[in-house]
Symmetry: C2
DNA sequence: ATATTTGCAAATAATTTGCAGTCGA
DNA sequence: TCGACTGCAAATTATTTGCAAATAT
């Protein structure tokens, strides 16, 4: 909580309750939640919270590079407090998302010569060990 | 045109005019178009075409692995007749999409042990050589 | 007091669905 | 003729926006 506050203050973003709680949620549950998941979890604690505020907070966090918006080929975005370069694997059976320690710096293609690369995204989809064992 | 027909027939999909034209468009203009782009280009030629039919055709093509749905962190999907494993780079200035010859088989992470991987997606975003030269 | 944040409701946009009409073997 | 294909309109879903009320320093 205190850490969230100082993280926000260090980026010159006012640590409002909503922002602290959203950031805290992302930190405590780094499961790459969707806006809906964040909203519903926090709604109990903050009954006045609106989804718009969750969107607003995440927008600010993205701008100051505190969270990363990720997109696993679904219709909705997910959010990750781990802004370091890594990939994701999504299990299409149980929905679990696994972080992949992929060094994207190595993933270079000749076609990228002269390009300024701002973001690198890697995600795989399939069945996680548990789900592929259960033969689904 | 004839090739499109036989491609479809070999997969037991009826080669209707709409399907042939959509597939032909994707083949002739492998620019990773969106549904909207496909629809508007073909609407001149086939005035009765509806966007639903474009969606329907693409859905069938995906199922028979004739096209690949790609998603570059935008709000809409794109479609690629090149179903071989490769990555993409999108220029955030001019919108151009460059195919990347990345061997994703190499991109392995220890966390993937035991996973059944069905799809591998890699995309980068930034500025292409032309746009980064113009210092935008 | 004043600027920022919040939250409702409406707008936007991509995609999906229901269903009736049409087309082709 | 019959089943598959098409296409309109409506539904669904995620996200954004306008603006007024609430809040904080």
């Amino acid at each position: 909580m205190k850490e969230m506050t100082s993280q926000l203050e260090s980026k010159n973003v006012k640590p409002s309750i909503a922002r602290i709680k959203v950031l805290e949620y992302l930190t405590q549950y780094p499961t790459h939640p969707t806006v809906d998941e964040i909203y519903h979890h926090l709604a109990d604690e903050i009954p006045t919270l609106s989804k718009t505020t969750v969107y607003n907070s995440l927008k600010v966090f993205k701008e100051i590079d505190l969270v990363r918006e990720i997109n696993l080929g679904e219709h909705q975005n997910r959010y990750d407090v781990d802004v370091s370069e890594h990939g994701h694997f999504k299990c299409d059976h149980c929905g679990r998302i696994i972080d992949l320690s992929i060094n994207l710096q190595n993933v270079d293609a000749k076609e990228l010569e002269g390009c300024r690369i701002d973001h690198r995204h890697v995600y795989f989809r399939g069945f996680c060990p548990l789900c592929s064992a259960s033969k689904q």
